[in-house]
Symmetry: D2
Subunit: 379 residues, 4 copies
């Protein structure tokens, strides 16, 4: 059995990156370590498509989200939260923990927040100082139109804070051009590294808020310290330096492929996934699906959990179940990280074989054939 | 680009086996080293399906073939060579190098030696003391009916020597039940290790010939020494001990899957490959194809070399070209080693996409769909 | 050049642990992942010598310290800080960031806080609700008598919070027996892992404070969440799961050696280091040196920075310089992590050779000979 | 316990070389594979100090020795064997296996063959067509004066064949300048790789003998084929291609250090080993010790096997015992491969501690101190 990890994080990591992690550990304050962090920081800017600094935190992605909340805002300040699923909810919980005055714009699972909704909220709340959005809502497979959000927010005093944790690197995301002030991602999604690092880009507009914030109660996630240290390619606290060194290897791979080619390849994979799934008579759960994962509604009469379990046990492919009360109702097939076209085909093949085995499909072939046709089609 | 190596050796090696190779090197005469060799030798017997000793040589598979020739026979002795391709030719060259009196039974590339041909040769040459055959002729994709050969040879004074280098582990091969006296394989095919080790099983009938042979001129490949040492789980010369330690890991994987399941899985993969290829309108080159690789005749009007090159450059999949004067005339898609059903599907997908791109196929889909149907069919 | 990393974090990591990091990445919510975390948590309890839960945070050690401060205390509460160097200062900065009312007991660099000083402070401040101490003050090499501190604090309503980041695992530390309420350590010191994980044990007394704390502003470091999740062998946020898996391997090594043997071995290494250093006519900087590192006063007339540089460039051994204004005034030779007796001897040999080269020592030999005698002596 | 392998093969391998072995396996006939073999071949010429081709065989070092014997000589030809121990004996056994007419010049274990002895033999046997010598006789620790041998042989029609398996790379050896016609070494000694490859350099004088040899019975070790293939950076049979790729990494390390610096470093290590051993009151077994290993006579009244066992079990250091009837009579401490000065110090320290423990030494210190002084001394 050859395992294929197709969950929306962690994702498969290239062998050369993994082997980098097996090298002897070095000192994190050496000039070599600084040169590595400098290179990683530059390559992160490229992946973020930003000229602003990108800081590296040793934490889960949620640590990066907390850094954004705790540094940029004071208790009581008004912010607009755009919530379309579980990860939007994380913004809600963070806002609550730090006492922000949250205005919530929310849509049901499977739907996407529309720019018009944000426009209305901004009008109704001209005193809002922040807007929180989610690039790829992995709980539902929805992708948001961050470019449109940015156009709206940039015209206001508010800053746009984006959770791009599972989207950055596998779908178009232009931090500067799209006016994202604070962009947060993690190492374990499209950046092809194990979990452990969060990355946060900070615009001048956001920086001004951070500098002005007197009430922030944080030490480990104090972005002022990280910004000051990254200017000399250093970190305020002992970082997960072997992860940083390995991130360099995966980033070099991204550089080599080219960020736009990377986006195009994921778009091709996503088209194939969607075509294959629909050819099996299944339905996409997200109204506005993103290119990092394909979320499928479990059809009536099929035991969603059993199908996933069979796919894993018989074919070694790990898809993700729905989370919380979505469990058993959707299947989440991620195609981000060190995966290629043929891994998508493998997942579709296994899904089709199991759906045949459990009697949902009379015959197999149309699913993989439709995916194959999508692969052959010009974009 | 994610590389997939689908040549008939070397083949992909599981990550856990590769990582075993990265462990600190140990002493090859320690009790731990002997325990490892003992375990490997037992597991090799299981894979060979033999109760006879299997010795481990540090060499290519050809070294194992030479050991069989130089130890079991003296110059001038008559042997029958069954030749159906380039690897059968290796027996011819070895026989020549060691001065054997070779009777050649030969068929054109793509054909298989039939048991009746051997029967006739044995009748015509009752003084033959050896018969040399090839389990999987990887230059053409042919598989031979070794069981039938064994039934014929066992009734004579001759011993049956088989080159099972690229077949053992991915197609049925029952050394004892099929009366194979000397069975030779290499580490880098279905046994999921890099090249560097050859394995040779030796029956009592073969052992008697080796013991009686006074004229053998060999030292490094002296099987008497290896047999004597393996009895105490040792080797006469410093072996490639890290490869042996890693072989243990891959053999444990085979043990866990079970040898008959392994054969069945490769049969399933081979059926899918053949179905997919034929659904693309292509023809199988071998009249009697084996389960370790599928050899395809390059169709008229298609540049065979260019197609392989595109498959590799655009899709990362390395298929093998024909060798020598077969170059450009056949494509060889191996499905042995650490590969699964979906790697076969990947290769078919890439082949179909490229054949579409170069204009040979009007549309894509039928190839992968047919393979998928073969995967779903009961064996 | 064979590098030897002898800084007080990161430290060398065993090869088998590093290779664990190179294995394919798995899903962090699988039952296998939970079993691994369960095992790691049990082994951490053993290393901590506690029956209380030990939670795993994905962060630097400082993240663990922040978790202790932000969860157990509210702004304005009075705490006693025992400060003997740079790491004691970290408690000061954290207390300040979170608005605690800090009573500082401080000694100059090189000195240790004495139990009597704490006793006095506790008497003077009966309303103190917390005491913060440092097991191994790596900026000076001092070790503190935490057992004595614990005896004093346990009789009061205050909780004892200890930074054991660079000491736990290389010097005696009995969390429960010594009445440590919150004990914090990191992965990258004696626990033989790269940086990226912090571990925090929490006593019932501390738990009561955490539960009662209404004003805590934290989300990522919310210990209530970690405690609740660890009860089911899970984590609230995506953890650095490959580090956790690798930590298991290093912890198994510690289990096998036995925690008391580990302490004894480090004591032996430390005795050898101190004997060797003193035999070279050098002076120990710490009045109460600990067993994890030996800090040496740079003698008059010797260029401290140049000596370290020569040791690294000529002999591959990385010792640590003093930090901040101690730079060039002390040398810090750590002997924690995957290092053995002979690595200490190597560092002493290199130091002696360089001190001879720069003219400080007339002859070499006495340093390594004294270390060797210390190694031979009964403890 | 941190293991240190100090046997004369296999030897420790650098981590970066080991990790190269864990990379995915590639195809051995690709242009990338040829480029790697080309680079390795060039670097081997540098290490051998030759302009002649150096071929790579997949075998133990003995395979390289057999290739020299079987290719360069015909049965019945007269050769002179210089035998000073077990590895000289290997030449004797090979000569016997291939029917050569051997003239033996032999000295007792611990002694070295003197040039005068060879001179005399050459005079007595002007019809000798080959001379076989051993650079480092690892069974006794003796080093031979190959330069002097070469001067004598080059003036005759005979070719000089040298077993440099355990010496090349850790002691001076100038193939061309010293007139070595066939120089054989293995991967697992000073070249810092696991076992599995043998390397053979071939002079024009040797090549002429090979080309003229009609009676050679070999196929796998046919040097004509290897020479012809290496000219296009290829090999006649599937080589252990992952070992070749890893050899590149270790050879790059040697290139970086510089061959003369490498020799000088080993000389320094050997001086320290000899000084340390003698300061413990022990005697060197070899009258003319080489720089790759130090062989020590077990003193009267000491159980040689028990001491080695204690050194390994208590201190993790693996020294080699004497072989065959030398077992228990000598200790062999190798200092070749990926080892540095401090590993020698470690071995001396462990030996001294154990000799103290078993009562042979009254006190410890003089051994390591003497080694330290040798390290400090100008060469």
């Amino acid at each position: 059995m050859k395992p294929r990890l197709m969950t929306p994080g962690p994702t498969p990591v290239p062998e050369e990156t993994l082997l980098e992690l097996a090298k002897p550990v070095g000192y994190h304050r050496s000039s070599e370590a600084k040169a590595i962090l400098a290179e990683v920081s530059e390559d992160l800017k490229y992946v973020f498509q930003t000229k602003n600094p990108v800081v590296t935190l040793t934490s889960s992605g949620t640590g990066g989200m907390e850094a954004a909340v705790s540094n940029c805002f004071s208790a009581g300040e008004k912010v607009i939260l755009l919530i379309a699923g579980r990860w939007g909810d994380r913004w809600r919980n963070l806002a609550k923990a730090f006492g922000l005055n949250a205005v919530v714009v929310e849509v049901p699972y499977g739907k996407a927040i529309q720019p018009a909704q944000l426009e209305e909220a901004l009008k109704a709340h001209p005193d809002a100082v922040g807007v929180f959005a989610t690039l790829s809502e992995t709980s539902t497979g929805v992708g948001h139109d961050i470019a449109a959000f940015g156009k709206l927010v940039t015209a206001t005093p508010a800053i746009l804070v984006v959770d791009a944790i599972s989207g950055l690197g596998c779908m178009e995301c232009r931090t500067d051009e799209w006016n994202i002030d604070v962009n947060v991602t993690g190492s374990q999604k499209a950046l092809m590294l194990p979990p452990g690092l969060a990355y946060v880009s900070i615009s001048d507009k956001a920086k001004a808020r951070i500098d002005a914030n007197q009430s922030s109660k944080t030490f480990y996630f104090d972005l002022k310290k990280y910004l000051s240290k990254i200017a000399e390619s250093d970190t305020p606290f002992t970082p997960a330096n072997t992860l940083i060194k390995a991130q360099r290897v995966s980033l070099q791979r991204i550089r080599k492929e080219g960020i736009e080619n990377l986006w195009a390849r994921h778009a091709r994979m996503a088209r194939a996934a969607r075509a294959g799934v629909q050819a099996m008579g299944l339905h996409l759960f997200a109204e506005q699906p993103n290119n990092g994962l394909t979320v499928i509604t479990v059809p009536e009469g099929v035991d969603g959990n059993a199908v996933l379990s069979k796919i894993e046990k018989q074919y070694g492919i790990k898809l993700a179940n729905g989370q919380d009360n979505m469990k058993g109702k959707i299947w989440r097939m991620a195609h981000m990280g060190y995966l290629d076209l043929f891994d998508v085909l493998a997942a579709l093949s296994a899904l089709e074989l199991v759906l045949h085995e459990v009697g949902f499909l009379k015959e197999v072939g149309p699913g993989v054939a439709a995916a194959q046709q999508a692969l052959a089609a010009k974009a």
